[in-house]
């Protein structure tokens, strides 16, 4: 990487690229303007998903739109000016003009999720900025293999909804892990694209156990693998993300085609 300097002129700079294998690049450019501005979001509806998770629908009239997989920053403010801000993935498909939906787990002792689950009611206002991060976004262009656990299914559901709403025929598969059927978020909305994995409890005849190589391997070999392979999207707690991303790589998924969103 040398700039050849001829008297009075310098060759155009080529950006530095590291000699190491490049981590999956961002899929889309993020609008820096949208990311910088706080907007008021008015809660319009609350839908219970499971005993511990609920979906919160907001009107955000100036929402610039998003791609499935993106998240936002949400801020709540107390009377004395104290604020708390947290990241939340967008659950809704992009075409829901002027409205967005978030799905929050009720985290034990959680400051923000606690407010949502015990206090929030339609008409309440919070602030949001975003959408953020083009990295985990899925524009609907390439075959997508989605693996999520718990509330990690939220950004993946936005992708599934987008796929349906647009009638896309690009292959899409979702593996979703939950402790038991009653804790499976969006349970009524899954179709043929989805396999649910229950780790603790399941109804008669349904196996119980962790997501394993047996779930992943068939999707990465033979007829299960689309020509050109998958973009893999993994989302959930760090422990789950580590486990699922290792399974993928062991089954042959290239590391630079695994995108991970860790909720902490």
């Amino acid at each position: 990487m040398t700039d050849t300097t001829v008297t009075g002129f310098s060759a155009p700079r080529s950006p530095f690229s590291p000699p190491t294998r490049f981590a999956v690049p961002g899929r889309i450019a993020v609008s820096n303007r949208a990311a910088a501005v706080w907007q008021t979001a008015t809660l319009s509806e609350i839908r219970r998903e499971t005993p511990h998770a609920a979906t919160f629908r907001f009107a955000v009239p100036g929402w610039a739109g998003h791609l499935p997989g993106q998240h936002l920053m949400l801020r709540v403010t107390a009377h004395d000016g104290y604020t708390a801000q947290r990241h939340y993935s967008l659950a809704s498909a992009p075409d829901d003009t002027g409205h967005i939906e978030l799905t929050l787990d009720h985290v034990e002792g959680g400051e923000v999720s606690g407010w949502f689950h015990t206090e929030a009611r339609p008409g309440d206002q919070v602030e949001v900025r975003g959408p953020l991060s083009g990295f985990f976004a899925w524009p609907g262009d390439r075959p997508a293999l989605l693996i999520g656990a718990g509330s990690g299914v939220v950004p993946l559901m936005s992708m599934v909804r987008h796929h349906r709403a647009r009638g896309l025929d690009v292959p899409l598969r979702l593996l979703v892990s939950a402790r038991g059927p009653e804790e499976l978020i969006y349970a009524g909305e899954y179709g043929d694209e989805t396999t649910a994995v229950f780790t603790r409890r399941a109804s008669e005849g349904v196996p119980v156990g962790r997501l394993s190589a047996a779930h992943v391997a068939p999707l990465l070999t033979g007829a299960g693998r689309p020509p050109g392979g998958w973009e893999a999207y993994v989302c959930g707690s760090n422990g789950f993300a580590e486990h699922a991303s290792r399974l993928l790589v062991e089954a042959g998924q290239p590391v630079d085609r695994v995108r991970i969103e860790r909720f902490g």
């Binding site: 990487m1 700079r13 950006p15 530095f16 590291p18 000699p19 190491t20 294998r21 490049f22 981590a23 999956v24 961002g26 450019a29 993020v30 609008s31 820096n32 303007r33 990311a35 910088a36 008021t40 920053m73 709540v76 403010t77 107390a78 009377h79 000016g81 104290y82 604020t83 708390a84 801000q85 947290r86 990241h87 400051e111 407010w115 206090e119 929030a120 309440d124 206002q125 919070v126 602030e127 900025r129 953020l132 991060s133 083009g134 990295f135 985990f136 760090n238 580590e242 991303s245 290792r246 993928l248 790589v249 590391v255 630079d256 695994v258 995108r259 991970i260 969103e261 860790r262 902490g264």
Partner: protein
């Protein structure tokens, strides 16, 4: 001010060490990386400094460990809002590495990159003067892989996405060049005390 009805927040003690918009994560140390954790052993690890320097140089594990040791004791701050107080990292001050390669006078910025290909940009001034480390120990133990072990960059006065995990090298430039998150809408510098989270802050 847009007060949120019914939101009081946790009872809080004023903590002058907490930058605006942050909370104390206590014993938690959340893991936030976008890529698969690499299987990288000390034997595979190498660290290079090149670009606008008099003598580009690559250190292997033993070579880097042979430099004079240095410890950071203090706080770290993540853009996702958690801060962690009183952490202790062991490694080598980046100054010790830079002394060997001798940056050119024209070098103003750096791109730090990791063995996974992750990149992040920094003004050179944020990497010198005893404010940046190559760290391989946390709390007296080898740094865990999910936190960037065997070795990571540590720039604790900036948001933690600047502290590239699995550090592989630093390339010095005479201009600023956005890295991975900076191309994804994050701020170019990332000073937690000024809440430089996203581009435009």
């Amino acid at each position: 001010m847009n007060v949120t009805r019914g939101f009081a927040g946790r009872p809080r003690v004023h903590n002058p060490g907490l930058p605006p918009g942050q909370y104390d994560a206590g014993d938690d140390w959340p893991v936030l990386s976008a890529e698969v954790t690499p299987d990288l052993t000390p034997a595979d690890w190498a660290f290079r400094i090149d670009g606008l320097v008099a003598e580009p140089r690559t250190w292997d594990w033993d070579g880097a460990r042979a430099l004079p040791g240095s410890v950071y004791e203090g706080d770290i701050h993540c853009v996702t809002s958690w801060s962690k107080f009183g952490v202790r990292f062991g490694g080598v001050s980046l100054d010790a590495f830079l002394e060997v390669v001798r940056p050119e006078a024209s070098a103003t910025h750096a791109v730090a990159y990791s063995h996974t290909g992750y990149t992040t940009n920094l003004p050179l001034g944020d990497l010198t003067g005893g404010r940046a480390w190559i760290a391989w120990e946390y709390d007296g133990k080898p740094l865990a892989a999910e936190h960037g072990g065997p070795a990571r960059l540590l720039v604790p006065h900036l948001y933690f996405w600047k502290s590239a995990k699995w550090i592989a090298g630093i390339h010095l430039l005479d201009h600023d060049e956005p890295g991975f998150w900076e191309q994804n809408g994050y701020h170019s510098r990332g000073n937690p005390w000024e809440e430089q989270r996203y581009s435009g802050d």
